[in-house]
Symmetry: C2
Subunit: 395 residues, 2 copies
């Protein structure tokens, strides 16, 4: 899994991915880089380009029927796209349980942008009683980052593991797979998958070139394998739902293409947007720690980062009072909306901001308080996670 | 390892391997197919094309000095080429022991053409006291043969395992690696190797194309990994000598190119020729069982196969008495020479054949007797091997 972790400040014109022939203002999205403006219209374009579906009112009604509620991240369209979500809900309704599967590429420390889909995944686990496979793709991060050492990846793997466990997934229903540790479970399925994918297909989907190393070319089946592992574990075809940021979609698309040939269900997905960095409307990247709130940050650092965040505000207070500010491009507003404000609070904040009745300092102060408290609490959970590592391991 | 196991009756003009731009009469050699006339002059061309070295008189003298003798398969130039054999012998002489590493791709039953390099490997183990890693590339065979099932590969793996153990390697010094079983030991090194090999290089060396599946493209590091495993096991850079047919050379060439970058010695090799089939001067293939003597064949089948072998004889007895026969293109002569005749016997047989003083029936009868006895004895060893499987396993 590569989501949320690449440095995205690359040249927008650099595009060796035939799957991503973008206009200059579109989002460039591959499993290894995300770049561009995170505006709603660009997400709509992604749905078209990737051939996924938006989450319809019918699906939202079905979720409400099955769970009694609709999660704020669906209401707010943070989870905005899917493949076969309707199918998997129908299966569930008819008594066929599904697995959840998500992951993390351990190329840095965890920031709170990573955590949002994980909290949502836990929510799904609680609501649907789903078993969860959580894959840590330490191999991919080593293969992709030619300058990185195994020791560094291993260190990030352990640190990330603590974050994953701190989320509070049900330990009876959750197994964490670390690729290099559990490769013996993944490899037999991965070879079956690999045999069905030509270089031609992989080149088109992932943008591989002559300079790509053969480890990266051979990797996608390793990330695809956990889609089919539940069927092997349960000894019966088992639906799988993958909550993840949309940059991972190429993996699932090739996986879906070959699933039925191997006798498995196509994995279903629910795709999130990217949480922007604190500096501009880019995806948050833990490789630029000054613009990301890390779970290992000390509370005073968190506050400092929030207080120096980019906002949608006007250059002066008087202008802001007069013209209002632009919540639509404001990461502070987004963080409050997705993480801390309820629907009503967020709506009121939006109206007050737009109308000039709210100054950025106030929002920053709200966010600083919330994130500081969040990080303090989360760090305590991370500490406790140190004793639970074995409990969560795949075997 | 793919040696000795591909069906070689493909169209000689089919050549998607840039490493193998052959004239029509050359041997076509890749890890997955060998085709063409097995004449000495073609092996000389292979040395030039692959950039390996012939085994010099100095090396033969060094072997004699170290072991007190020269193995018949070196004298007869069945092992005809090498990389760094002189270097590894010098290391040994100075007190630095080396590992042996060879392997088998389990795509069929074992024929006696497979066994010859293994017997030679055992000889080296006995003479040099070397530890041996023996790799069974069940993953590669599954990836390469798109029509084959895991069950079939698994069955061949077990049957081949019995043959390997029946060779009589020193169990205290020998560990057998089955890729899918021991992938957790191979994968960490394989990712280090994979990161250093671009698709461009792999394409040039192995002839991969757009239609190659990504499993095959990702595979070479798995076969390269045991070259470096000894250094990891011994916790000190450890020389490795690979006795194998020359079709495997592409693997070791890319491995040698990146070895020092990873802090390992380049693996040394000693390359064998191919044992021809009984039908024509092609490499013996167990996928054409009627032209190969299998270790599972019943003795009467062995006899029948030998008696219907192709020879270098004349159409009639009187012509043969008059003109002599052609031992140089005769698989019966070759089998006797490499397997059963000593140097003197082989020389006498050659002279008598060429001068018309030996009829093919006599040679066939000699070979039938020898092979029947060999197979009877080997089958008994295979039976005993069934109790030794665990003893030889890597872990």
């Amino acid at each position: 899994m590569a989501s949320h972790s690449r440095n995205i400040d690359i040249d927008m014109d650099k595009d060796n991915n035939s799957y991503n022939k973008n206009n200059k203002n579109d989002i460039l999205v591959t499993p290894w880089e995300v770049h561009g403006d995170l505006e709603d219209k660009n997400y709509v374009k992604l749905i078209e380009k990737f051939g996924t579906q938006s989450i319809s009112q019918e699906i939202i009604e079905k979720i409400k029927k099955l769970t009694g509620e609709v999660h704020p991240l669906i209401k707010s369209q943070y989870f905005f796209s899917h493949r076969d979500l309707d199918w998997i809900l129908n299966k569930y309704e008819k008594g066929e349980p599904f697995y959840l599967y998500t992951g993390r590429g351990p190329s840095g420390f965890i920031h709170i942008g990573h955590i949002l889909p994980w909290l949502f995944t836990k929510y799904l686990q609680d609501k649907f009683g789903s078993k969860l496979l959580f894959q840590i793709t330490d191999d991919e991060k080593f293969l992709y980052n030619v300058g990185i050492t195994k020791e560094t990846i291993s260190n990030y793997t352990y640190e990330n593991l603590l974050d994953i466990i701190a989320i509070g997934f049900n330990p009876k229903l959750t197994k964490i797979i670390i690729d290099t540790k559990h490769i013996n479970h993944l490899y037999p399925i991965a070879t079956e998958i690999a045999r069905k994918i030509t270089f031609s297909t992989a080149k088109a989907v992932f943008g591989f070139t002559n300079t790509t190393n053969i480890g990266m070319i051979g990797f996608p089946p390793i990330q695809a394998a956990p889609c089919f592992l539940p069927s092997i574990i349960e000894k019966v075809p088992t639906p799988v739902l993958i909550p993840a940021a949309i940059d991972q979609d190429p993996y699932w698309r090739v996986t879906r293409d070959i699933a039925e040939k191997l006798g498995f269900y196509k994995p279903a997905q629910i795709h999130s947007k990217f949480l922007p960095s604190l500096s501009r409307l880019y995806k948050m990247s833990s490789s630029k720690p000054e613009t990301a709130i890390l779970t290992i940050d000390e509370p005073e650092i968190v506050e400092k980062k929030v207080l120096s965040a980019f906002t949608g505000g006007q250059p002066t207070i008087s202008l802001q009072r007069k013209l209002g500010a632009n919540a639509d491009i404001c990461p502070v507003y987004w963080y409050l909306k997705y993480f801390f404000d309820d629907e009503k609070e967020s709506f009121e904040r939006y109206i007050k901001c737009k109308s000039g009745n709210l100054l950025c300092g106030e929002c920053k102060s709200d966010l600083a308080n919330h994130t500081r408290d969040f990080v303090i609490e989360f760090k305590a959970k991370r500490e406790k996670a140190k004793d639970k590592v074995e409990e969560y391991m795949f075997d």
